[in-house]
């Protein structure tokens, strides 16, 4: 799991996932 600093009360977490033969960095922004 990768995280970025909480800014504007918004949390941002990410995970690099393989989708078949490609790589998606899924980034989710959620409110704190």
């Amino acid at each position: 799991l990768a995280t970025s600093s909480i800014k504007h009360n918004t949390l941002c977490v990410a995970s690099i996932v393989r989708y078949r033969q490609k790589y998606v960095t899924q980034i989710l922004y959620a409110p704190l």
């Binding site: 504007h8 989710l28 959620a30």
Partner: protein, 315 residues
């Protein structure tokens, strides 16, 4: 020579269609890429920061309560918010605290047509994704798969018309044979093109965007010469600046918000060819071409939808 051009163009189009049918949406995806997703409990104004900070104009929504994909956030949503606020100036508090999950209510409150959100499986032919996009009048289509263990939806990516045309321009040498003038292809929208003047209030221009179901409004002078355009995505800058309080601004003043890295409005004439158009799409991020005459007067507009529709269904 004309006959030769016709035949070459027809053969090239057929070859490009075969290419689109032989590839899947998955093939368009880079080997490694980012996908930014917003939780529907995020506030609208925070989501605006996220879009601008990441230099994107749209993002898929994730409803963590149902663990499902909840559609796409697009500039239409921000336009709905502006129109709702313009009709209900007393509701500032509600607008200011609005969450992404509340956008559907805003859509209903102003009677806006919900965006038909077609989606497609990444393994389907690219040709099919293009047709779905054209039929749903949206300029982008989410690629949805299922987690093979939990069967929960995965938003794999969102394909846009621009990305598909760029994929064609990069991979189909046949685009070099599209030499017929675009004025002959019935690909330019010339009738009822909604336009405005630099002094038109920006709120009226926003109404034109929604009434016409278009994503840009050309700005012309008294002789009909094209000076600039107002795009749906300019609304993000309007809200960011908080000047949606002051919607009496003229569209010229509202355009002062545009950031300096705006690349400018692309124009062409009826004599231009799709070969050069596709070459420019390959090199630059272009979303439409305004067609002008030799004096710079506005003749019409050719959007990426028009180009894609011609490639898929024209000839």
């Amino acid at each position: 020579n004309r006959e030769k051009l016709h035949v070459e163009q027809k053969l090239a189009i057929e070859s490009i269609r075969k290419f689109l049918d032989s590839k899947t949406s998955y093939d368009v995806l880079p080997v490694s890429y980012r996908l930014i997703v917003l939780d529907t409990s995020l506030m609208v104004k925070k989501s605006l920061n996220v879009l601008l900070q990441n230099n994107i104009v749209s993002a898929p929504l994730w409803d963590s309560k149902t663990s499902k994909f909840a559609g796409l956030l697009t500039s239409s949503d921000f336009i709905n918010v502006i129109q709702y606020y313009f009709s209900n100036p007393d509701k500032f508090e509600l607008v200011d605290k609005l969450q992404l999950s509340g956008l559907k209510d805003i859509e209903k409150a102003i009677g806006a047509e919900p965006l038909d959100m077609a989606s497609i499986h990444p393994s389907k032919p690219l040709f099919e994704a293009c047709l779905k996009m054209l039929n749903s009048k949206s300029r982008r289509i989410p690629l949805i798969d299922k987690d093979e263990e939990t069967h929960r939806e995965i938003v794999v990516s969102v394909l846009t018309q621009y990305r598909i045309l760029k994929f064609v321009a990069l991979n189909c040498r046949e685009t070099h044979f599209l030499k017929r003038p675009i004025g002959e292809l019935n690909i330019i929208s010339e009738q009822n093109v909604k336009k405005c003047r630099m002094t038109t209030p920006v709120i009226d221009v926003i109404q034109l965007l929604t009434q016409g179901g278009v994503s840009s409004i050309p700005i012309v002078d008294e002789e009909g010469v094209l000076i600039n355009i107002y795009e749906a995505i300019d609304v993000l800058g309007l809200i960011k600046g908080g000047i949606y309080n002051d919607l009496s601004l003229s569209v010229g003043e509202a355009l002062m918000r545009r950031s300096d890295d705006f690349e400018g409005v692309y124009t062409c004439t009826r004599n231009d060819k799709l070969s050069t158009i596709m070459d420019n799409i390959r090199k630059s991020r272009i979303h439409r071409f305004f067609v002008v005459d030799e004096n710079g007067r506005l003749v019409g507009v050719m959007t990426l939808s028009d180009i894609l529709k011609y490639i898929l269904l024209g000839e």
